[in-house]
Amino acid sequence: MTRSLNTPAELYGRMRLIREFEETALRLVKSGDIVGGIHPYIGEEAVAVGVCAALADDDLITSTHRGHGHVLAKGADPARMLAELAGRTTGLNAGRGGSMHAADVGLGILGANAIVGAAAPIAAGAAWASQRARSGRVVVTFFGDGGLNQGVLLETMNLASLWKLPVIFVCENNGYATTMPISTGLAGSAVARAQGFGIPGETVDGMDAVDIRSAAAAAVERARAGAGPSFLECLTYRFGPHHTMEQRIRLSYRPAEEVERWRLRDPLVIQAARITPQEREEADARAAAILAAAREFALASPHPDPADALDYLYASGMRGRGGEG
């Protein structure tokens, strides 16, 4: 898969790929091939793609429980990602991670994190190492509007600002933390919180990949110049459930007309308007073909051998109780 995200068609193509990935994954959840369900990213694709379009290959990201889009936008192989969700040896993490823990360190994906807010300080630490090595690498940490209310994020913004770390805080404000609308969760405003720590913050249209890319590019430039962290709030919406389990237990917490209203601002439609119909058809066909092959690859891959289940806990090779076997 090409890593480049420069042209309008490439931006569209990557968003299409993420959409196709999530739709494929949803079918595999239904069929029982993906266990544990997923947090679908559908509706929010512009955020991951717009932000990653502003990054260089060796820049780093941390991701969230709703992380498939981030990982794919940073260049992860959709076939290995799908295999990870299906718990196969060929998965990005050989099945040890699952939907919420994709990591591909070689691609700068330090790991998705299922503890809300907890990836932020890890990103700051990587940014500290980058600052010390003068590598020019920047680190993006994605989190949701719910993550804004985790103390660890506030601790991290303070530290990052004090130490002028090359880290970019990207808040995906999709209006809800599970079932709770942001009005019940957030006092004040997201951007004002960042500004309180002396971090410049900006709110952007989270459905427009091009807008997001230019805001992210400014943040990247600032970080590379040694001027410290930035904060980006992307106003977006998830078109689907919080988690696939929600469909079974029929949670009801947002009006249907609200969902319909947001669907009119589908980020793929917005980006499609910037490319030719032919470019669009080609990208659609390519994404469909990649995912068909990915599905086949994932389902044909072997399940992990329980005999290896204790491996990879310790780098020293220690295994099991107290290390003795």
């Binding site: 780093l60 990005l92 993490n93 050989a94 099945g95 040890r96 991670g97 823990h101 990591a103 591909d104 360190v105 070689g106 330090l110 790991g111 994190n113 503890i115 907890a118 932020a120 300080p121 890890i122 990103a123 700051a124 630490g125 990587a126 940014a127 500290w128 190492a129 980058s130 010390r132 090595a133 680190v139 103390g151 660890v152 601790e155 991290t156 303070n158 530290l159 004090l162 130490w163 491996d311 990879y312 806990l313 310790y314 780098a315 020293s316 220690m318 109780r321 107290g322 290390g323 003795e324």
Partner: protein, 327 residues
């Protein structure tokens, strides 16, 4: 040779490793300019400079997260959590992030970092600054857990912890900071996971950790002098990895096991050792395994109460004597 306190040994061990490897960096509250609230890191800022020795805000989650992210990307951080009780405010980073992420990533990354923390009682600071929490750490797969009892072991085990490719929680016992020991000059590195037999005897084995080691030794001396009972005392030194071979062979020789633990009783580390010995050396036991611990309470501030809670030399000696006589 020189005489060093346990607290001075901390700075010596860190400096030894920071001179050797400039990827080693250090962060924590009050650790740089002030040299640590226990004066355990004096001189490091002066020698290694503010880029490697960093004071942080009072943000334990950010400290450990920063250490973790830096460890994943080429540094070898040492983070200080001022009092081990404060692990409770950043346990997510320890138990969910640092400990699990290597496994979750199928071994793509490792976490060569050390978290040092002042642990345990003896300074009368009350319940939120005095608990021994090494058993919390031992309960988390993915961590290594070390607790030295002497200044020399502080240097050697800290050096090994810093060189180790895995995350190590390094517990410094507050009541030992002022204790002194003779340390040879030059580099000292002690392997992790090797227990040390600190006194010999055939009648019983006493297994102890950190501040309980000198008490166990004093109790063993008293038992021999007053009752002719000769105990071997094993300094566990490292709970993970655990040197079960030394413990099992000592118990096989003496037939009796006593543990002396500063942590509160339930699920203290001695319970794990007792279960290992019961499973693997049952046939050599001549009497019950007995655990001597702090009771299952928060530690009170008053000296008379705090002293009463911890295993004392008298309690250790008395427990061993009566148990051997009853058997």
């Amino acid at each position: 040779m020189s005489t060093l306190t346990y607290r001075e040994a901390v700075a010596r061990g860190m400096a030894q490793e920071m001179r050797r490897d400039d990827r080693v960096v250090f962060l924590g509250e009050d650790v740089a300019a002030a040299g640590g609230v226990f004066k355990a890191t004096v001189g490091l800022l002066e020698e290694f400079g503010p880029a490697r020795v960093r004071d942080t805000p009072i943000s334990e989650q950010a400290i450990l997260g920063a250490a973790m992210g830096a460890a994943m990307t080429g540094l070898r951080p040492i983070a200080e959590i001022m009092f081990s009780d404060f692990f409770a405010v950043c346990w997510d980073l320890v138990a969910n992030e640092i400990a699990k992420s290597r496994y979750m990533s199928d071994g793509q990354v490792s976490f060569p970092l050390v978290i040092r923390s002042a642990n345990g009682a003896g300074v009368r600071f009350g319940a939120q600054h005095s608990q021994s929490v090494e058993n919390w750490a031992m309960a988390v797969p993915g961590l290594k857990v070390v607790a030295p009892s002497t200044p020399r072991d502080v240097v050697g085990l800290l050096a090994a912890a810093i060189r180790d490719p895995d995350p190590v929680l390094f517990f410094e016992q507050k009541s030992l900071y002022a204790t002194k020991g003779e340390i040879e000059d030059g580099e000292i590195v002690e392997p992790l996971g090797v227990a040390k037999i600190v006194s010999g005897g055939d009648d019983a084995t006493i297994v102890a950790l950190a501040a309980m080691v000198p008490r166990a030794v004093a109790a063993a001396n008293r038992l021999e002098a007053e009752h002719g009972i000769r105990c071997s005392v094993v300094d566990v030194r490292s709970l993970v990895p655990l040197d079960t071979a030394t413990i099992l062979s000592e118990v096989a020789r003496t037939g009796r096991l006593f543990t002396v633990e500063e942590n509160p009783r339930l699920c203290g580390w001695g319970a794990e050792i007792a279960s290992i010995v019961a499973e693997e050396a049952y046939g050599s036991l001549r009497g019950p395994i007995v655990r001597i611990t702090t009771p299952h309470v928060p530690l009170p501030a008053a000296d008379a109460l705090e002293d009463h809670m911890l295993p004392s030399v008298a309690r250790i000696a008395e427990t061993v004597r009566t148990s051997l006589e009853d058997a």
